[in-house]
Structure formats: C-alpha cells, structure tokens
C-alpha cells in the first residue's frame, strides 16, 4: 500500500509492519504530526498505541464534518494522543468515517477521558461510539432534534429557542401565555416582513 509520508514520527516508526500499512498518510504542519487511517482500523491502532507504545494520555476526541467538500468521507474523527513518559510525544490520529455508518468502536476502556470526549462528539455530530457505557445527550437537552455542529444545521437554529411559554402575572395568578411573535422585544419596530425575511435568510447555513 502506498503511504504518503511527508513526515517522521517515532510512533509510526515503532509500529509493526501490518499496522503500518493501515496508516495511509503521515503529514505534519508546524512540527505537529498527524496520521490518517480508516474507520475499520481505528480500534486496532488505538489499542496498539495505548498498550504497546504507552500513549497513556488522551488529550481530546473530536470530529470534523466535511459536508459538501471534496473529502473521502463526511466525518473525520480526530484523536489526540500524548505519551507522558516519552518526553510528551504528541500526535493526532485522523479517522475517516462514512456518514451512513456513522459509528466507531469506543475506546473508553483504554482511556477514561474518552467517556466524556466521545459523549460530547456524539452530542454534537451524531456519531455513535459502540460500547461507550453512557452515550446520552450531553450539552444539548435530551430531546433536542438535531446535532448542532453538522454543517447543515444553521447557526441560529431552527427556532427551538423560542419554544417556551411566557409566564406573566394576571391578577393573583401566574399564567402561561404565548410568547411575543417577534424575536426580541427590544426594537419592536423590527417586526416587519423585511426583518422576518432577513432572519429567515440568516438562518440558512453559511455557504
């Protein structure tokens, strides 16, 4: 298998040959090395790095959504590993992940910091980590209909932030009413067709 090697890293050099073939690119930028692999090889590679090469500190787990861009797959899950003993040697493992499958084996048994790292990546992107004991929604409400950091989710949301009743006092009771129809009460003149059109236009994802 042709490996694009534009950089060196001791972690790559110490891999056995069968695992080295699973990494198809080693690249670097400003002195920091990244390696790419496919979703199928993620677990074996991470197990090797943790158990045989003593990369015992998982700095972070995150993902990038390449919707609409010219990339092999839609999701790129990034693991950032550090070896505290070997002079804090650091590299990133980028895993290409197919959108329709959208699931990876969890690595919570290798690093406990992956429990919450994967949970947050699931919450933000919808990627499922099989085996993670606790994959509930994290930062968003439990029943939130969507995954915010996907590129087709608009910045201003789909109006979930206005779905609350208004609590007012009427006489000696607190009642719930419908909220005001315009987004903010400051600047009530902004409730015009032009403003509504502007809000609708801004709610689309940025090109």
């Amino acid at each position: 298998m042709v490996v694009e090697m534009s950089a060196q890293h001791p972690a790559y050099d110490a891999l056995p040959a069968d695992l080295q073939s699973k990494i198809f690119e080693v690249f670097e930028h400003q002195g920091q090395v990244g390696m790419r692999c496919n979703a199928a090889d993620q677990r074996t590679l991470l197990e090797h790095f943790r158990l045989s090469q003593n990369y015992d500190f998982l700095v972070d787990v995150t993902a990038i959504d390449h919707l609409g861009k010219d990339a092999p797959e839609r999701f790129e899950v990034v693991y950032m590993l550090r070896a505290l003993q070997s002079n804090h040697s650091f590299f990133r493992l980028h895993v290409w992940l197919d959108e329709r499958l959208a699931s990876l084996p969890s690595v919570f048994d290798l690093w406990d910091s992956a429990r919450w790292g994967e949970r947050e990546t699931h919450d933000m992107f919808g990627i499922v980590f099989d085996g993670n004991p606790d994959l509930r929604r994290f930062l968003m409400p439990e029943d939130f209909p969507g995954f915010p950091l996907l590129k087709d989710y608009p910045l201003k949301g789909r109006d979930e932030r206005r779905q609350f009743p208004k609590v007012v006092a009427r006489g000696d009771r607190m009642v719930e009413e419908e909220p005001d129809p315009y987004p903010t009460s400051i600047g009530r003149q902004m409730h015009t067709p032009d403003y509504i059109e502007e809000v609708r236009r801004d709610s689309k994802p940025r090109e």
Partner: protein, 163 residues
Amino acid sequence: MGLESLIGGEGFLTTTVNGLVNWGRKNALWPMPFGTACCAIEMMATFSGRYDISRFGAEVVRFSPRQSDLLIVSGRISLKMMPVLQKIYRQMPEPKWVISMGACASCGGVFDTYTLIQGVDQFIPVDVYVPGCPPRPESLLDAVFEIQELVGEDRFDSGKHGS
C-alpha cells in the same frame, strides 16, 4: 387582602401606609441571584466589599426563591436553563421584581446562536434591563436604584403584584 378593603379609598391613611410599606420594601430588597456566567462574577463583586450592595439594603442574599423578592438574572440563559429560570420565577412569592443583568439576559448579547435565549423578557416579565457585557458593579447598583424607584411608586393595593 384584608387590610386595604378595611381602609379603602385614596385617603390620607392609605397613602401614608402605602408610603411606609414601599419604604420598607425598597430599602430591604432581598435579591435572588440567578447567576450563570460572567455577569455572575460582576454580581458577586457587587455583593462584596468594594461595591457593597448592602449599603442600599439589599444585603440578605438567600439563594432560596421562596425568601426573596428581587430576581437578578445575570448571565446567558440557554435552552436547558430556561425551564429552570421559569420554575424559579414562579416559586418566588409576590411582590417580586426582575433585573435582567447584562446583554445576554436582555437580548441575547454577543451570541445569536441556536441554543441561547435572545432575551429573557420574551418568557418572564422584566422590570429593569442593565446593559453591559458585563455591566460594571456601579451599573448594577444603578439598576437597584431604579428598582427602588419602581417600588416607591407602587400602590400596595393595586393588584399589580397580586396582593
């Protein structure tokens, strides 16, 4: 309530009692700090030694809504926090006033995103807004003075605050 129906009307006794009640209420506001983010730190600085809010009577900061009458919403309110805010607001007994401190609570502030409420006044009634990101402690003290003026103009038998 019983008292005003006994006294009734707009007489000398009523206005004096009104003035007395208002004087007592405004000089002993009990704040309920609903601090979430950066504004909460400035609110804590207002409650502390240098910008002392207890000079103006609002000393008894008890974190229980059942025992307070001034809700200070300081900080950004997200989707998850909004039901909590409404619950706390409903738990406060009448009469109660609300200060919306900071840009995020008043209008969403810097953050026009999918998860932040663009102004809590859409969902709970607000009496005084304090601009700033975060407002200086002096601005919060100014807001307390405004609330005190509002309280001073209140009529305790007007039915507005449910009495």
